[in-house]
Symmetry: C2
Subunit: 595 residues, 2 copies
């Protein structure tokens, strides 16, 4: 008999602790302490309460928790002294059937890992969809994590423990994140299409209007049709558009979606999660035969990443009438103009057809977008969802400082014009200045002393600046301070500098009422509410120019790594995103007068 | 009638001022103020006194002095309103015969320069040997100096003014730096030999045992023979050795010399000045038929720069029995082993022959070496000569800091592991720490975020460290502090680092009695005494291991640039070096009992 949350909420403390036994390995104190937070409003709430207990327990108890776990394919497995849960998990991952080489490799990794960190390697060997990770994936992850800084790896071990508990909880309560699995399967299926030259290395690359890109569009069309959208089409720039009509003819639409193109060697969730999440909602509505007082228009944007052509946000831009006519003549690396690529894809490739994609904002309620976070914050805080307060505005600069190259041995310290030390001084200022705002970020991502020699004082130093903040005045104040500091440093040190602005993007603060809708939806799931700016740019920035918008972030695994095949999330987190979207739709339906 | 120093010293102030008229352009106040330093012991002393007046005059009067000069080929030349000295100088440089293109280019440069710096471009258009610079050289120098930082260029203008005055003084007093010119001509003649592929670009490259290198050796042999050396030979490693015997058979020798190989695209004075300076002294002795109580052995070392083969200090090393047998098998970029290069050069190429070069230190008084400074110090202080207190000991390290690459937009400042900012922090520490010692130097010459992107927080940063100090304990304390700081930074920031030591060279402090001999020689010339460490390594480091040594530095023009075709000095400074060497010989002769 699966457990219910009602049982846990009703039982006395000892009984509830017994019912929750076997979640945190050999550590019943965690569930016991979490019971103080009853009544639990959802499984998410219970998970969060337990994660909070671990977080508050301090380093010593956290280490004890980690050390309570068995090694992977280690002595305990061989001696059959694992807990039944671990036995089940390790055997599902096929660890009992390692080849002698695999077994030897795992033993070596166990020994190296333990020597380096002083605790056993812990990995949720049941994968993000709950199915087993392949042995090879486990070994690769093991080797990769051996390179992590020690404090980071301790946190990573705890995150894996929480994930193991999440999977054990699902078993104990007999629940499945069904909508999360649905989206998961769509994601996997869509990820089969990848541009040649990348696909064969197991990498995902889908750039604008390639064969893989068009195959992906066709699959989105098919998936949308199967969901029960009323109209599905590929528009003049390659966007896949699905419309699910409202209850009354002429009802306005909620616009939503994200992009399906990827960077080269990218992740499978970036963008796509924001197409599939509302698709799952529409599928549920259609299956129930329900119409809302408004329609839902889901757009899979064809282009956001600017990889094949320098035409970032081409897909969402077209919906607000932004399309640079010069783009049509722009050539890709193989010399193919965009116009030709469009014709090959069966698109009209005329400015008229593209201009016709422009939406009339009065026909829309607003725009919402679900996106994987692409950052470490939710992952580190053990939170599945985040409310976006603003898409940060950014400025990018390419800079050069020129001093005088001179002999490293013969030029006294007080006679140098060292370009690199000047940039070093600026780097520390940028760090400090961004930190002072709390939610600004500043990065020197490119840094180079061109043709530097070990015995030559740097005469030149090239570097980039990327400065972002949740609103434009905050960003501009930071940019001004950084440039003033650069000038001050160079004047004091007798250097010259050149700065070229290569990008300036306005911030897109969330519309307060739409942000509140996301907040109510997340709270209703019993998930803690966490507000955060979006450091990365998103399609919502474009729609922001013509209608209210707000975004929801979903936690990424592996520290939120993105633009990388290691980008990952879980069915459980996706499931929460779908259910949050459903709540938002219900909320909105209650607000709208039936037409 | 040329002026004499006695006249200046004897005249009353008004008369002496009149006699010195026409040195500093339209600025008689400088000579007048310098007269307070009378009696002048030498022309050097007078020059120094005037340079000190300019230095003490402050920025406003310095600018007025600079602005008192005419533009090169400017309106004043066209309108014939130049001072007679300027007319003479500009016409010697052929500026009155510019082509229309050259004239137009000079006018543009004048305009750009004036707009940038607010004063006219000043160049001692009579070259370092006193002959005219070619118009093309003038235009190139003009264009190059337009790129200088403003404060640096102001100092450069003043240095050129001092040089113009030096040449005017020679005219006024009817003196010629005859020994300086002699060495100058030897230098020019030797610089005709350059390795192919460089020579045709007007660059000087003479690497170990190439055709150019062997031609240079033959020329040194011929020049030494002409000087009157008793024995001249090319030894088993290609060193050119000249011996001028002492008064008595069996007298000990003073060993001296430097290297005649160069770096690729190098300067013509680096090394060679230390061969020619004592050659000029021997020539004077031989012409006078004089023998000293000791012999003089001048060695032109065949290899110091380690360019063709990684075998730095091969030439001087052979004299102290240092020769790595593996070097014979080492191949150059074209695959030619050193053994084969030696045979091609007619050398025995056996370890026995090389071992036989080892000197018996008891047969030598000590080793002295004259070298161009290869640094900016003497140039900036308007000093022609410097006394070396020690050849700095150095440690070189190649380092890597590893953090975690992450999204520059989505990773909050407090969640970063930015490898580059950590290195930036270290760079500032190195600067501060070296400065604290006063005479240590520390440099990060190579610095790179590999494959950095504008929007990615650097996960790795590679850099080099070059740390030098006048003695080994001081150097080691600095190295230890820098590495401790690196560790502290990385621990605090959660990063890892790897450090590889690639070089460690012991310091070579000058033998006090030999350093004092140089000091007495320099003081006797009326040149201010300035002590300084040598930041670069020199052949004297090798001889240091078996006998006392001390070095004399000669000012380099162009901020002491070296390992560059712009490396330069003047006949006047070389002349002072030869005369200092003569004084040292006399001093030493007085100390030695006649055998």
């Amino acid at each position: 008999m699966p457990l219910t949350l009602e049982q846990i909420n009703a039982a006395d403390r000892a009984e509830a602790t017994r019912l929750l036994d076997g979640l945190y390995e050999h550590s019943p104190w965690i569930a016991e302490a979490a019971l103080a937070q009853r009544p639990f409003r959802s499984l998410s709430h219970l998970k969060q309460a337990m994660a909070d207990v671990v977080r508050a327990a301090g380093e010593d108890r956290q280490l004890a928790l980690i050390r309570a776990h068995p090694e992977l394919a280690g002595k305990a497995m061989v001696a059959r002294t694992l807990t039944s849960e671990s036995t089940d998990e390790q055997s599902r991952a096929g660890l009992a059937h390692c080849s002698p080489q695999e077994f030897a490799r795992l033993q070596q990794l166990n020994a190296d890992y333990n020597a380096r960190f002083g605790f056993p390697f812990i990995l949720a060997v049941r994968g993000p969809r709950g199915t087993g990770l392949a042995r090879q994936q486990i070994i690769e992850t093991f080797a990769r994590r051996l390179e992590n800084p020690a404090d980071f790896e301790r946190a990573e071990a705890l995150r894996n423990i929480h994930r193991i508990v999440e999977l054990r909880l699902n078993d104990k309560f007999g629940v499945e994140p069904a909508l999360g699995h649905l989206v998961w399967d769509w994601q996997e299926s869509l990820a089969q299409h990848s541009d040649p030259g990348y696909a064969d290395k197991g990498q995902l690359t889908v750039t604008y209007l390639t064969d893989a890109h068009r195959a992906a569009a066709r699959q989105l069309v098919a998936d949308m049709r199967e969901c029960g959208f009323d109209e599905v089409e590929i528009d003049a720039v390659g966007n896949v558009v699905g419309r699910y009509r409202g209850a009354a003819a002429g009802a306005r639409y909620l616009l939503t979606g994200s992009h399906y193109d990827t960077v080269r060697n990218g992740g499978r969730y970036d963008g796509r999660l924001g197409i599939f999440t509302p698709m799952a909602c529409v599928r549920e509505l259609a299956r129930a035969g329900r119409r809302l007082p408004f329609g839902i228009e889901v757009v899979g944007f064809a282009e956001e990443e600017g990889q094949r052509y320098k035409a970032t946000f081409l897909g969402s831009g077209a919906l607000i009438g932004h399309f640079n006519p010069a783009w049509l003549e722009q050539k890709d690396a193989a010399g193919i103009p965009m116009r030709e690529a469009m014709r090959d894809a069966g698109l009209p490739a005329t400015l008229e057809a593209i201009a016709a994609l422009r939406r009339d904002p009065s026909r829309y309620l607003g725009f919402v977008e679900v996106h994987i976070e692409q950052g470490p914050v939710l992952n580190e805080l053990d939170l599945p969802l985040g409310i976006v307060t603003s898409i940060n505005g950014g400025v990018r600069l390419q800079c050069e400082v020129t001093g005088m190259a001179s002999h490293a041995g013969t030029t006294p310290m007080d006679r140098r014009r060292d370009a690199a030390v000047a940039v070093a001084e600026l780097a520390l200022f940028v760090e400090q200045r961004a930190r002072r705002d709390g939610d600004s970020v500043g990065t020197i991502g490119m840094l180079e002393v061109p043709s530097g020699s070990i015995n030559v004082v740097p005469g030149r130093c090239l570097f980039s600046l990327d400065l972002r903040a949740p609103d434009d005045p905050q960003r501009d104040a930071m940019v001004a301070d950084v440039l003033a500091k650069l000038k001050e440093i160079c004047t004091r040190r007798g250097l010259r500098f050149v700065v070229e602005e290569t990008m300036r993007a306005a911030a897109a603060p969330s519309a307060p009422d739409w942000q509140q809708r996301w907040e109510r939806a997340v709270e209703a799931l019993g998930v803690p509410l966490y507000r955060m700016p979006s450091g990365a740019g998103h399609d919502a920035m474009k729609l922001h120019e013509v209608m209210p918008q707000a975004m929801l972030f979903v936690r990424g695994q592996n520290s939120g790594i993105s633009h990388n095949p290691l980008e990952s999330t879980t069915s459980d987190d996706i499931d929460l995103a779908v259910r949050a979207f459903q709540r938002l739709l219900e909320d909105l339906a209650r607000e709208q007068p039936a037409a």
